[in-house]
Symmetry: C2
Subunit: 243 residues, 2 copies
DNA sequence: ACGAGTATACTTGTATACAAGTATTATAAA
DNA sequence: TTTATAATACTTGTATACAAGTATACTCGT
């Protein structure tokens, strides 16, 4: 598999990844970004040719993406589902569902170590903002939520997160890249929300947590649509560079 | 792939399934039943030899089972996680979580068709009980819950269900096979609970629904442990037949 | 011109071959 | 006996080959 210059997915996150994982990550981001449009029919052979790999890693990728609800495997070809507004709302439904569940569990356990870890992550986010590193910021943002979820040690909640995570990662990645270019002023509020989240956990304050969660969602969800179109234009731009 | 006489998974559910799906289903049930014990390290080559298939369908199966949290893919070999009491409780946590979410949505939509469909399924369950067909009963039981979940048309809730379903199916299958042999008197109550669930949906009665859901769980969950040991003995018996 | 039937170019699913890396075991030296 | 090193027998990941089935398109007959 040659290293494409026009990969959307951060190359440095794929250093020790297998070919199958590379294809999966890249294909996922192309679908989420809209570069590959909903309704497109993907053929294993064509994808294999396009990525200059065999069908094995392609099959692996398609199976993974199907489990993430991004494509639908049919008799002849894989149909791209993609992310409409409806799907994005549904993703946030599920995030709200599991993070609320997690918070209820947090009320019952020791959270000192957790809050220290979360504070560290917020510091990392600040540095990422300072150096305008969208990818690093996204990584820390995802890590923030994953750290909270992992802390309650619930394997089936973690299973849900594992299925949701890659799509969330893609959404946040694209969203943050756009913000660094066009809405840099958003970041103080995003940071503040994360700090509020930590405070809510420390105070074991359910209302505060729900509020910060909603603010967080409004922050990302409310503006996803706009960022969406911009991101699509960006993706198209990349595409055209290679025509 | 030869057809094993000692398959745990219902053969008639696999008629039009691929080899990969057959291996997945059988392997899953062997893990859930405890035939393959927690901590066992599975090798692709050995499994391929055991099932008399190539590594391709085996790899597919292992990847699927890993996404269902039944095994953990590591550098050398796949480690069986299996289902401890903790995992079973966690599965029911998630079921409670999503079915509660679904019920909230049901309050807002037209549920006439749904309740008719559910009533039909309950009738099917009665027939299955009458003819002591544990597998058919399990199928209808799973279908009952899937029908409810599908009715709200929420692709990411459905995604969670799709990940949970195979394990639930296995649990219910093993549990029901045991009941038909040892606890036949349980079925009137199980049926009644399902009818109560329908009533709750019709009446849009949240409390009633939660109650029937809890009863349902107590029914299955509370007795899973006992049935568990019996099932393991059954599985061992099957194993010994083939020594 | 139009329909039936066949040929062809696809599709997926499975088997096999190969490469690269890892753990284990055996052997040799101290 | 113990330790270090090398050979061997594993492991997974990827590529390729093959089989069976499906849709498309084309040709032939009417």
């Amino acid at each position: 598999m040659t290293e494409f210059k026009d990969f959307l997915y951060p190359q440095k996150w794929l250093i020790k990844a297998s070919t199958g994982e590379k294809v999966t990550s890249e294909l996922r981001l192309r679908i989420i970004s809209g570069w590959i449009e909903s309704g497109t029919i993907l053929s294993e052979n064509k994808l294999a040719a396009e990525f200059s790999v065999s069908r094995s890693p392609i099959r692996e990728a398609l199976k993974t993406l199907a489990s993430e609800n991004l494509i639908r495997l049919e008799r002849m070809g894989a149909v791209v589902i993609g992310l409409t507004d409806k799907e994005i709302e549904e993703i946030y439904d599920v995030r709200l569902l599991i993070e609320t569940f997690v918070f209820e569990r947090l009320l019952k356990i020791e959270i000192t170590e957790l809050t220290i870890e979360l504070s560290k992550i917020v510091e990392m986010m600040k540095v990422a903002i300072k150096y305008q590193d969208a990818d690093e910021f996204s990584y820390q943002d995802i890590l923030f939520h994953e750290t909270i979820i992992r802390s309650i040690d619930h394997s089936y909640i973690l299973m849900i997160w594992n299925n949701l995570k890659p799509v969330m990662e893609g959404l946040i990645l694209l969203s943050m890249r756009m913000r660094f270019k066009e809405k840099y002023e958003d970041f103080p509020r995003i940071l503040k929300n994360h700090e509020l989240y930590i405070t809510a956990i420390q105070a074991k304050d359910r209302k505060l947590m729900v509020q910060s969660l909603h603010d967080n969602f409004d922050d990302v969800q409310g503006k996803v649509e706009d960022l969406w179109k911009s991101q699509q234009m960006l993706a198209k731009g990349v595409e055209q560079q290679n025509d």
